[in-house]
Point group: C2
Chain length 451, copies 2
């Protein structure tokens, strides 16, 4: 299927839906990839989407449900009969089935678990036990394992037996008599070995994780060892599942976005398409904390009310000092958060980074301070006010670099609640730093008779 | 190898380096995974790292070089002889060889290209032609392809021949007499088919890309179709290379970080461990643009100098209004950027999102405005100043929601230069919006005799 040819499907499907031409629709979607059908469903009105979804075979429906967002998935699931839903879930891999079932109302979930095959039902129920963000929560029960005593021929036979149910087999796991994982054999090694060779002689040491390992750690191992699939073991080292790379890609994305959500003071659960009421309540707490810190910064300004009264131009220029600090801090925070996420920043070089960011802040404070002084002078401001601007901006961008690097690193080290926002603390530093340095110096200048 | 057991290597290696016990070191690193050796090298002092690196076999060295950052890679490469470098590059896959060679000074690059095998050299030179961020720049020449007329047995023989040079074969590509790609067969399908079956009867339609497709698009296809490896074709549809999922994982990360770098006004090339001078020059241009917009906002305050002179408390409270707008805008920008990156936001729902974010801004402006009024009243401010605060915050958070959603969406649509910072524009809106609404309303209140 070529990438270019897919674009017109949506129009064609809309026309066929209007004409109620179900036969042509069935034929058309039978030729489409699940992810393309998912895209079309997301672009249709809900009623149209339901109509189209009902025409899918259980197999196609099972794949399509994994390609759409949670809201649409719930809408479509609610629109089909319990029997159809059971047939659809029956077609899924166990990890996907567990994800879908965990979104169902409890009664529906029970009905589906009773309806699907007993073996699958047990496997899914086992998966439902693990927290979603651990290796156990990400793994699937589908895998090929053989005993250490098996030959290559027997192993190929095992692959053959399971190949209908399992996508991307990638490798075969070797276990001892107690089902403890002892080795791994990739399919290309399997193809190349003679049929009578004992599997354990060609097995490699597996890179594995325990069920309770955090998904972020799992993702790191996949990256580090360029894995396609990784076995998951329980506390006794017994093989209980495997994680495939496509699930890990989602985890990697999720983790990066979480970092920036934290920075911006957002609830990790919020999504762009959430209803407004949900977003309002999720964002309000952090805005109220921001408000408290804003009053704190304002109280600094209040101290210097007398100074401002004498020279109102200070009120005009002070937001420049505070604002530039905020901008420089945002740059630093973003670079540091990225470095922490990629593992470039560690205990070893944290002090160096602090020093570097403080230096960058100082240098750019000096530079932008000079420019600001020049501009304010050209706009007709008192030369001493320009000097003030220069000194305060240099000081505040230094504070921005220091706090912008220090606060995310400290938050990361102490593994503080992920909902903590670095920006709140850092902008409090740059607001207070900006107002205090600018207005404080102005007061000193006045006392010295310079202003 | 278990994850826990690796931690002590660094201490052991340092001790052995001090003792100059090269034999034990060779033995120790021979048992370690390349990515673990890379980690150790990154944590050693440069001199120690060079000493250890020189002890590695060319094969181990070739893998280790891909696991470390560019600075260390250059240091280590500079420390070994040209012959050793040639031996090391010779062990690499073509895409990695091309990446390493492209980092060398031109004379060294020529020497290495002449030194490695002729066939490899040609393959690498072909890869060097493609821009780094396209499918051509990400692909490797290593792949297994067979003619449409081949049998399964012949195909397995082809896999066997190439299996020493190629990691993660994953699938075999089927080509016609003109080397045009016509199909793909995964290894598990290959294992399951009888030896005399014609390969074209079990081949599937390939999901492929042309060499000039952007890496972001490539990553989308991998995600969409859960691929492990994807063939790359030239303008005539001829098979020229393949991209593996481990390279795509890096692309996905890179693309997300780029989005947030753009938001923060950072150069996409900057890294956390760059020297300070580099960071200073890279960040300065955006800070100067910020400075210009800050003066713009200040000029709004300047207009109301007379109003502030009459009531200095306005200068104390106005940063609260502007700052809260900035905070709310950051929340909106982050949610919208994520939605755009994940493809949740499209032309279809952009208007809805604009409306939603404006509503969220209005509601949270109302809420935080009420709280701010109450707090300012309790702190002894004039009741009418409190009303002013309430009205201005409601207006400014509405502006924040609207501009925070509108500007990233518009930038994305117009595919503006990736170095464009959404934050600059949005905070300009919230600064000006905050000052103008607060001070403008104050002036009106004064004229009406309310203040």
């Amino acid at each position: 299927m070529s990438v270019e040819a897919k674009k017109d499907h949506i129009e064609e499907i809309k026309t066929l839906l209007e004409r109620l031409d179900h036969d042509s629709l069935r034929q058309l979607v039978a030729e489409m990839h699940a992810s393309d059908i998912g895209k079309v469903l997301s672009e249709l009105e809900d009623e149209e989407a339901v109509e189209l979804f009902k025409l899918l075979t259980p197999e196609a429906a099972s794949e399509v449900l994994l390609e759409i967002d949670e809201r649409l998935r719930k809408t479509l699931i609610a629109a089909i009969t319990p029997d159809k839903l059971i047939a659809v879930v029956d077609e899924m891999e166990t990890d996907d089935a567990a994800d879908v079932i965990s979104e169902l109302p409890i009664e529906d979930a029970k009905q589906v678990l009773n309806g699907i095959g007993k073996e699958d039902s047990l496997a899914v129920q086992k998966l439902l036990v693990y927290p979603e963000d651990t290796a156990g929560g990400k793994m699937q029960a589908e895998l090929v394992s053989v005993s250490e005593e098996a030959t290559v021929e027997e192993t190929i036979e095992a692959v053959r037996r399971r190949s209908k149910d399992i996508e991307q087999i990638a490798n075969v796991f070797v276990v001892d008599a107690f089902n403890r994982l002892t080795g791994v054999v990739s399919l290309d090694k399997l193809i190349l070995a003679g049929p009578d060779v004992k599997i354990k002689t060609i097995a490699a040491e597996p890179i594995k994780v325990r069920t309770d390992v955090d998904q972020e750690e799992v993702a790191k191992l996949f990256r580090q060892y360029d894995l396609v699939a990784m076995p998951v073991v329980d506390y006794d080292g017994r093989l209980v599942g495997r994680i495939t790379v496509d699930d890990v890609v989602d985890v990697i994305e999720e983790e990066i976005f979480e970092d920036f959500y934290r920075v911006a003071g957002l609830n990790l659960e919020e999504r762009a398409l959430d209803p407004a009421t949900r977003s309002i309540w999720m964002r309000a707490p952090w805005l109220l904390i921001n408000l408290a810190t804003a009053f704190l910064a304002a109280s600094v300004v209040k101290v210097f009310e007398g100074t401002i009264e004498k020279l109102v131009i200070l009120a005009v220029l002070m937001p420049i000092v505070a604002g530039m600090g905020g901008n420089a801090a945002t740059q630093t925070i973003t670079v540091v958060v990225r470095g922490l996420a990629l593992g470039e920043l560690s205990l070893k070089n944290a002090r160096w980074v602090l020093f570097k960011e403080a230096t960058v802040g100082l240098a750019n404070g000096f530079l932008t301070g000079l420019v600001a002084t020049l501009v304010s002078y050209l706009l007709g401001a008192n030369i001493m006010v320009g000097v003030l601007l220069f000194l305060a901006m240099t000081a505040n961008l230094f504070i921005a670099g220091l706090s912008g690097a220090f606060i995310p690193i400290v938050l990361k080290w102490f593994k503080v609640d992920p909902a903590i926002s670095a920006t709140v603390f850092v902008t409090t530093c740059t607001d207070i730093g900006g107002f205090f340095s600018f207005l404080g110096l102005a007061t000193v200048f006045m006392r010295m008779g310079l202003l």
